[in-house]
């Protein structure tokens, strides 16, 4: 029997250890991407790293505070400017309310199904972007609000320009948002110009979304704005999503290749809004359109 003094004993060699850990990580990768047996594991690590993320955020918040301090010298000007914008917006909001009421009346006249909920009614929570991933593979960001702040899975996240993404992973004090550009992410949209409905999907590249399965002769133009259609019940209707960048109509193919860019930008601002889940109305209040047989 071989006797090795304690001093020289280092356990298995580096290669053996590497092999064991490669096996272990392959198992974890398979678990995380395909099987998903232990979602709590990720949660636990999320809680452990939260203090570190919080400390890492301190420089950013100091930078923000200095920025605010400098901005406070221009408060009067800014106040005036904001008041002007407020008045402008107020006017538009009043018009919108009038239109909404009119719309409801007209819909009642038509006997159409009430829209699920209008965009002006949704509640929102302000959240800050805690971290953006370093590698280009994960199109996700982490926010500083979690299940303790009543954030729920599936909530839509927007910035001042439009849709940013959707909450896909919850931790107690933070949450993950899958961005529009993620290759597994799709949003039901409609074209503002002609209310053509479709689904826009991420491609996995930055600043690039794709409108799939629209035929070559579809009425769509460069610069068309796509807004959420509200179908599917995840995103409230009428929020800007993307603008059509270029269209390639290949006559030999069945579908046109339509590339668009998201209007919201996560790299521009640090604050985002988390919209409350769209609550489907109860069945009683929904009016089912009366279709008279034999009329068409």
């Amino acid at each position: 029997m071989e006797t090795v003094p304690q001093f020289f004993r280092h356990g298995p060699g580096p290669f053996t250890r590497l092999f064991v850990f490669i096996l272990l990580s392959c198992l974890l990768i398979a678990e995380d991407t395909r099987l998903k047996y232990f979602p709590q594991f990720r949660q636990t690590i999320g809680v452990i790293i939260f203090p570190l993320q919080k400390i890492a955020y301190i420089p950013a918040s100091i930078y923000d505070q200095i920025g605010e301090f400098i901005a406070s010298f221009y408060l009067l000007e800014e106040n005036e400017k904001l008041r002007r914008i407020y008045l402008d917006n107020r006017e538009q909001l009043l018009k919108l309310h009038a239109l909404e009421v009119e719309n409801v009346q007209l819909r009642k006249l038509l006997g159409a199904v009430q829209q699920i909920e209008t965009a002006t009614k949704t509640k929102a929570v302000l959240a800050e972007i805690l971290s953006t991933p370093r590698d280009p593979f994960s199109h996700k960001i982490t926010l500083n609000k979690g299940s303790q702040h009543h954030i729920q899975l599936g909530q839509a996240v927007i910035d001042d320009q439009g849709i940013v993404g959707q909450i896909t992973q919850l931790y107690p004090w933070s949450s993950e948002v899958t961005l529009l550009t993620d290759k597994d992410h799709s949003v039901p949209v409609q074209v503002v110009r002609n209310s053509l409905r479709s689904v826009v999907s991420g491609t996995g590249r930055n600043d690039e979304l794709e409108l799939r399965y629209l035929s070559v002769n579809t009425d769509i133009q460069q610069g068309d704005l796509l807004v959420t259609s509200g179908i599917g019940g995840v995103y409230p209707p009428g929020i800007p999503v993307a603008a059509v960048l270029r269209i390639e109509r290949d006559p030999t193919g069945d579908f046109a290749q339509i590339i668009s860019t998201p209007v919201a930008g996560v790299d521009r601002n640090r604050q985002v809004l988390v919209l409350a889940l769209v609550q489907p109305e109860s069945n009683e209040s929904q009016e089912i359109p009366a279709i008279e047989p034999g009329k068409n």
Binding site: H10, L52, R134, F137
Partner: protein, 183 residues
């Protein structure tokens, strides 16, 4: 081979001698440096800074395994990698695998790397970091991701450049304090 042919200048004698008087790094110091590196990795950067951001944790892990082998094992690197994966919202196991590869490479080549000054070590550390990034890319490709463009590798260049100041900083912190009561 004629031993006379080896030039004196190739081996940095001062570096060798200085290394022997290092105080052994305490476990607390290793732990503190790893935590500090993870915090640096979590900094909320955006835009161009994000592209250039080197992996501070990988550099720290490489430093400990080159200069103080067996101070931190592969299991610690694996655990830290899992933390990075959750922080980066990536695939669980991606960075864990990458950091284990860093530990392996620096353990195997550590004794050779120690012959060089930090400036000469930098390109070799760059190679280690490149291997690490390829491991990350491979894992990402297994889940149908696209190949990243060349800018992704800027982080490796930044990491290799950062190796020199980081290495000198640790050397400075670990140097034995002159003892006035000696002799």
């Amino acid at each position: 081979m004629n031993p006379g042919k080896i030039k004196e200048g190739h081996v940095n004698k001062d570096h060798y001698i200085r290394q022997d008087v290092f105080v052994p790094a305490s476990n607390w110091f290793v732990a503190a440096s790893l935590i500090a590196a993870s915090i640096l990795n979590f900094l909320p950067l955006q835009g161009e800074f994000l592209l250039l951001r080197p992996d501070f944790l990988a550099i720290t892990i490489a430093y400990w395994n080159i200069n103080y082998p067996h101070k931190m094992g592969m299991s610690v690197a694996f655990g830290l990698g899992l933390m990075m994966d959750v922080g980066n919202a990536g695939i669980l196991g991606q960075h864990a695998l990458a950091y284990c590869i860093v530990v392996y490479l620096t353990l195997v080549f550590g004794r050779r790397l120690r012959l060089f000054t930090p400036v000469k070590q930098a390109p070799q550390i760059g190679l280690v970091l490149l291997m690490m990034q390829w491991a990350i890319v491979l894992v990402a490709l297994s889940t149908d991701s696209l190949l990243p463009d060349w800018q992704y590798y800027l982080a490796t260049v930044a990491g290799a450049l950062l190796w020199v100041p980081v290495s000198y900083l640790f050397t400075l912190l670990l140097r034995q304090k002159p003892d006035p009561d000696a002799l």
